[in-house]
């Protein structure tokens, strides 16, 4: 593939895929208007933004007009001059004046400023004042200027958040990484109501104490796109109440307060009203799973040793055990045991165990589990610890930075030889690791080897494969530049495999016979596998 091809391809791609970028028929006029001393002509504001701004202005009781003017001015300067450290002196003078006009600076600073200074003196003073004012900020920008005056964002009012969103939108900076904050309307829950309802929901469903929950920082977000979950509304704002940095607990509800779901520190999203067993897929324990009796015994120990019930209390209860898969537990990759302890027909406690009866969590009946993943060493953990033994990095790169698909045949063979036994031993001890589609399991599926003296050379094999591809697919297949593998799953019949995102060719390494010639479309159809991109296709061959 030469330079011209890449150049032509890029031009073609831009003309087609970016055909939606349209020229502006008024650009010349806007440029002329801007350079004739008029204010830079901004794009027309979207209707949505105009409405939001109107609401913000109408609800200014919570936000001093002066501060909003300061924040807007800061944003405009930032948009014009970029990083604060690169602002010219004139911009810093302008900012200082803005801060004085809006009461952001102290009286002492304001007095110094109005003392009949010359231009250069003002520049020096502006530098000094701003350096002192922003001294404790690691980064000076509009957002941090707002937190400086308003506190951390969880303390901002809805109006202040909406103002920040509107400033982002005004300067074309609003992206999916920032929620579109909105103002609750008259029929929506207020922030206080939403926090109260979220608190109640978390305390009802999780075992966390009120004291612990109330010690966490609380934030309430009213937006329509801060997160997308299975039952969150698509075009309406909703409330997310977050307890704790890192979002230890979250309560999600509609704008009217109807609960949608919860999340705990380690849980997946739990839709409201889903029972402990939820959408369980009942299973039958097999040889590598704990028996029902083992599960019950393990749960009994948990109740006495971890929950600290007395032996007599536990003995007074009856246990029923359920074995099932559920996406809420262990990501649905492993079955779990759920042992329910009841007294006189009334459920008292529930204990969640791994398939091997290892302890996950215990909760009073009616509460949701918040420890839902079996603690164990994964193959990824082992790879991270031992990858250096064969000279590779954690992200599967060799010393030259080449990704595993591009490793030399020798490196691929060394990987196979070292890691197939490690993975096999792991799978014996962890029977459900196959369900996780662990990359180490996939990558040790084939035996990579080095060609012996009976094998045709790589060049010969590739030439044979190339010819077969062109014969089948015509000119489209010209220029085949594949990843290269030597697979010896059958030592008597090793093969050369050549693959890229479109084509796969296998050649018998001894006879030169073409074994496979296919493309991803045909492969997908004949294997009933969905083509998820090069990783899937190559993974199937490589791994």
């Amino acid at each position: 593939m030469d330079e011209k091809y890449l150049r032509d391809r890029l031009h073609h791609a831009a003309e087609t895929r970016l055909s939606g970028l349209a020229p502006d028929p008024w650009l010349t006029q806007r440029v002329l208007s801007s350079t004739k001393g008029e204010e830079k002509v901004k794009k027309k504001l979207s209707i949505g933004f105009v409405l939001v701004l109107a609401l913000v202005l109408a609800a200014m009781t919570a936000l001093a007009v002066g501060l909003s003017s300061y924040f807007g001015g800061f944003a405009k300067l930032e948009d014009t001059y970029g990083e604060f450290e690169q602002w010219p002196n004139s911009a810093k003078v302008e900012l200082t004046q803005l801060m004085i006009n809006n009461g952001v600076l102290s009286e002492e600073e304001a007095t110094k400023w109005t003392g009949g200074l010359s231009g250069p003196e003002k520049e020096l003073l502006a530098d000094e004042i701003l350096a002192a004012h922003f001294a404790d900020m690691t980064y000076v920008d509009t957002y941090n200027a707002m937190t400086r005056e308003l506190g951390p964002i969880e303390k901002w009012t809805d109006e202040e958040r909406v103002l920040y969103t509107s400033l982002l939108e005004d300067y074309g900076k609003l992206t999916s990484s920032w929620p579109t904050y909105m103002l609750p309307g008259d029929s929506d829950l207020t922030r206080e109501e939403a926090v109260a309802r979220g608190r109640e929901a978390v305390l009802t469903m999780f075992s966390v104490s009120a004291k612990e929950l109330d010690s966490l920082v609380v934030d309430a977000i009213f937006s329509k796109d801060s997160v997308t979950l299975e039952n969150t509304p698509e075009d309406e704002p909703f409330w997310i109440i977050e307890f704790g940095y890192g979002m230890a607990y979250r309560a999600i509800m509609t704008r009217n307060g109807e609960m949608l779901g919860l999340m705990g520190p380690q849980t997946q999203y739990i839709p409201w009203g889903v029972s402990t067993m939820g959408n369980a897929q009942v299973a039958t324990p097999s040889d590598h799973d704990a028996t029902r009796e083992q599960a019950i015994q393990s749960s009994k120990s948990s109740l006495t040793e971890i929950v600290n019930l007395s032996y007599e209390e536990v003995e007074a209860m009856d246990a029923t055990a359920h074995f099932f898969y559920n996406d809420l537990y262990c990501y649905g990759d492993e079955p779990v045991w759920l042992v329910i302890w009841s007294k006189q027909g009334k459920d008292q406690w529930q204990v969640l165990l791994g398939y091997d009866a290892s302890y996950l969590d215990a909760e009073p009946s009616g509460k949701v589990f918040d420890q839902v993943v079996r603690r164990h060493t994964t193959l990824a953990d082992i790879w991270r610890e031992r990858c250096g033994e064969i000279g590779m990095t954690e992200d599967f790169r060799d010393a030259n930075g080449a990704y595993c698909f591009d490793w030399s045949l020798e490196d691929k063979a060394a990987f196979s030889a070292a890691w197939r036994p490690i993975v096999a031993e792991y799978l014996q001890k962890n029977p459900y690791a196959m369900n996780t589609k662990d990359v180490m399991v996939q990558r040790t599926r084939n035996i990579h080897a080095i060609p012996d003296e009976k094998a045709i050379s790589q060049e010969q094999a590739l030439a044979i494969g190339d010819a077969a591809l062109i014969e089948k697919y015509g000119d489209e297949a010209i220029g085949f530049d594949p990843f290269i593998f030597y697979i010896a799953n059958d030592p008597a019949k090793p093969e050369w495999r050549f693959i890229n995102v479109r084509y796969w060719v296998s050649v018998d390494a001894y006879s030169g016979e073409v074994l496979t010639v296919t493309d991803h479309v045909e492969w997908e159809r004949t294997t009933n596998k969905l083509f998820g991109g090069v990783d899937d296709f190559i993974a199937y061959v490589f791994e």
Binding site: M1, E3, L6, R7, R9, L10, H11, H12, A13, A14, E15, T16, R17, L18, S19, G20, L21, P23, D24, L27, T28, R30, V31, L32, S34, T35, K40, K43, E78, D79, G82, E83, F84, Q86, Y139, V140, D141, T142, Y143, L168, Y171, G172, K173, T175, S176, S177, W178, Y403, F405, G479, F480, D481, F483, N500, V501, R502, G533, V534, D535, I538
Partner: protein, 172 residues
């Protein structure tokens, strides 16, 4: 039409000509650089404002396309450094691309995504060389780099893009 001397009376006409000739190409380049349509439009307007203001300083030492491209790239670099960019979602997904008005192949989208996902230093050399047809020397002068640095960046970038074209996915 080469811009050398700029009589006052012709400045607006020259601007109109430059906009008509290069607006779309520069807009696409700015978009690929900044990965945001609104920012790209801002950068484009700023580019032509700067160009208009400095028409007299253009002495024909390069083509007007190269001249405008240099201004545009520098404008994009300034915007890239803006603090606002810290809040820009740096992930690029196909749904973020503008809706195309003509049919396109999957490979076109993959290539566009690959360019947009390149580290900025590689991205700018790709745009200048493969999209704007600037030579290594011109790029080196524009970016204040040595020719060997530009060549190395182009080599690394083109390798990644070739992988996409041949294998359809960037594992970088």
């Amino acid at each position: 039409m080469e811009v050398v001397m700029v009589p006052d009376s012709d400045r607006e006409q020259i601007l109109a000509y430059l906009v008509e000739q290069y607006q779309l190409e520069l807009l696409r380049m700015c978009y690929l650089y900044l990965r945001d349509a609104m920012l790209a439009e801002d950068a484009l307007q700023e580019t032509f404002i700067k160009a208009y203001r400095s028409l007299e300083s253009f002495r024909g030492e390069c083509t007007e396309k190269t001249w405008l491209t240099r201004i545009a790239i520098n404008t994009c670099k300034d915007m890239q450094c803006s603090a606002w960019m810290r809040h820009v979602d740096k992930r690029v997904t196909p749904d973020m691309l503008p809706v195309a008005s003509v049919a396109f192949e999957e490979k076109d989208e993959e290539l566009i995504m690959a360019v947009m996902q390149l580290p900025v230093k590689l991205r700018e050399t790709v745009l200048l060389h493969y999209y704007q047809d600037m030579s290594v020397k011109e790029i080196a002068q524009s970016l204040s780099l040595t020719s060997s640095t530009v060549s190395n960046r182009l080599k690394r970038a083109s390798k990644k893009l070739r992988m996409v074209l041949e294998r359809g996915h960037y594992h970088g």
